[in-house]
Amino acid sequence: MVKKVVVTFTAGSAGRSLTYELIKKYDIMLSIIKADIDAGRNGKLVLELDADEDHIRQAIEYMENCGVEVSPLENKIKYDNTRCISCGACTSSCLSGALSIQAPDWKVVFDPDKCIVCRHCVTACPLKLFSTDFAG
């Protein structure tokens, strides 16, 4: 399975060697989708973990034991669909396909599983319906 998570760590936690450990200990295919680390070594990573379910669970437990906060990615892009007018402007710059609009009903659909938190939609939506707490 493939799971995307946002990993938040502070200077004290093992942010630096984390990715190495994940690959070595839990046999995880790992891609870093986004990294945002400041000089004091506080930071956030968006990771895509590809392995079997057990290994992913163990890896997440391991990270939590190391003092880093792990949360599923879908919590990180918020979409206020109650105000959406289905203009489609957001779909134009969402290249992951997480946002789509098509026949027959031409209403915008958001599939969080496909979202890579590129934040294009945050600026593209003229009604400002997307938000994220992840500094881009």
Partner: protein, 380 residues
């Protein structure tokens, strides 16, 4: 077997008029001739819900005691016109305060239509008859006098498709245009769009009653930049940005379901406006016009990354497929105006006419012919 406006209105009053949306009639036209459509259909409803910057509203606040001649006016911090008498103003959709560029005139109009209180602050120099120099108070649509939406240019007949061949991301009023031709934005409602169903404005003119943001509004003039000299394709459709409409309506009858303030990144504020126009099927020519399909509506591809050059041509069926092939690439296409909302508007207007709540109006004056567009020459 041509019909007159009066014959159609008589049917509407009796609840017997046959009304279809422009999409429904285009579907019908796959198997029926214009002559058969003329015999069957009386009115076709068209609609669009898109960003239209040339929009705004006239407001009259009423006089305070002692009165003030408002010369500088702000609504929720947005500077609006102080150039209309003592207590009138025009709120332009794109008016904004540079300190807070994402909230502008269109949002003020939306807040008023939503029934919210809006902060009014105004300054005057103080005169013998208007002694007050400053006022700060709350207003809402309940307590001011007139509130009239007035949009000098809405409902563009057709519009170019925007792409970007440069290697920079561009933020435009056509949305974010990704570098190297990775996306294309289009903005017309295609076969549902008002002026594409009556391309020469045979039935749409001054005084045409319409749906405007939920209200019964009117076409009050030809829109600004009304351009009759765009090339036609083989189906008589003008290519690119051609005719436009100036519209007016009572704000108190409007709903934020059908209008919204919007902000395009690094561009500015604009307003989404919902417009529905009924088109009477007067004769075979009109029956043929309203039968137009997306595959017959062409528009130009404009390169915003290279001086707005026209670099290609595409039709609305191709655009709606989600992908076009152009310059050897597959380009992801996305709309900028809401087809879902436009359909909702066409359906509501259809319901009004079917229930006899909305009669058609013949133009008081037709739209101009033979107009073209001047550029702005720099003479100094």
């Amino acid at each position: 077997m041509a019909k007159t406006y009066e014959e159609i209105n008589e049917k509407i009053r009796k609840g017997k008029a046959v009304v279809l949306t422009a999409e429904e009639v285009s579907e019908m036209a796959r198997t029926m001739s214009p002559k058969e459509i003329l015999g069957k259909v009386d009115v076709v409803t068209t609609a669009t819900f898109g960003a239209m910057c040339s929009s705004g509203a006239f407001l009259n606040f009423g006089h305070a005691n002692p009165p003030i001649r408002m010369e500088r006016i702000e609504l929720n911090g947005v500077p609006v016109s102080g150039g209309l008498a003592a207590v009138d103003t025009f709120v332009g959709a794109t008016d904004c305060n540079v300190q807070n560029p994402t909230y502008g005139g269109a949002h003020v109009i939306e807040d008023l239509i939503a029934g919210k209180d809006v902060m009014l602050e105004a300054w005057g120099k103080g005169t013998e008859c208007y002694p007050r120099k400053h006022i700060r108070t709350l207003i809402s649509l309940k307590d001011i006098n007139e509130a009239i939406m007035c949009n000098p240019r809405n409902a563009y007949q057709n519009y170019n498709v925007a792409v970007n061949t440069s290697d920079r991301l561009l933020h435009t009023y056509m949305g974010a245009l990704l570098p190297n031709l990775r996306n294309a934005s289009y903005s017309s409602a295609g076969e549902l769009s008002p002026l594409l169903n009556d391309p020469e404005c045979r039935t749409i003119g001054l005084g045409t009653r319409i749906f405007l943001c939920g209200a019964k509004g009117y076409v009050v003039w030809n829109g600004t930049q009304f351009n009759c000299s765009k090339p036609l394709n083989e189906h008589g459709v003008p290519m690119g940005n051609a005719r436009t409409l100036a519209l007016m309506g009572e704000m108190r009858e409007m709903s934020t379901e059908f209008m919204r303030g919007a902000y395009f990144e690094k561009y500015g504020v604009t307003m989404y406006v919902g417009v529905g126009v009924p088109i009477p099927v007067l004769d075979e020519d009109m029956a043929a016009r309203v039968s137009i399909r997306n595959s017959q509506i062409d528009t130009f591809i404009e390169d915003y990354g290279d001086g707005c050059k026209l670099i290609g041509q595409v039709n609305y069926e191709q655009l709606r497929s989600g992908e076009i092939e152009f310059m050897g690439r597959k380009i992801h296409t996305a709309p900028l105006s809401s087809l879902a909302k436009a359909r909702q508007i066409a359906d509501i207007l259809k319901g009004w006419i079917q229930r006899g709540e909305f009669e058609l109006t013949a133009p008081v004056r037709p739209m101009p012919t033979g107009t073209s567009l001047n550029g702005l020459e720099k003479r100094l």
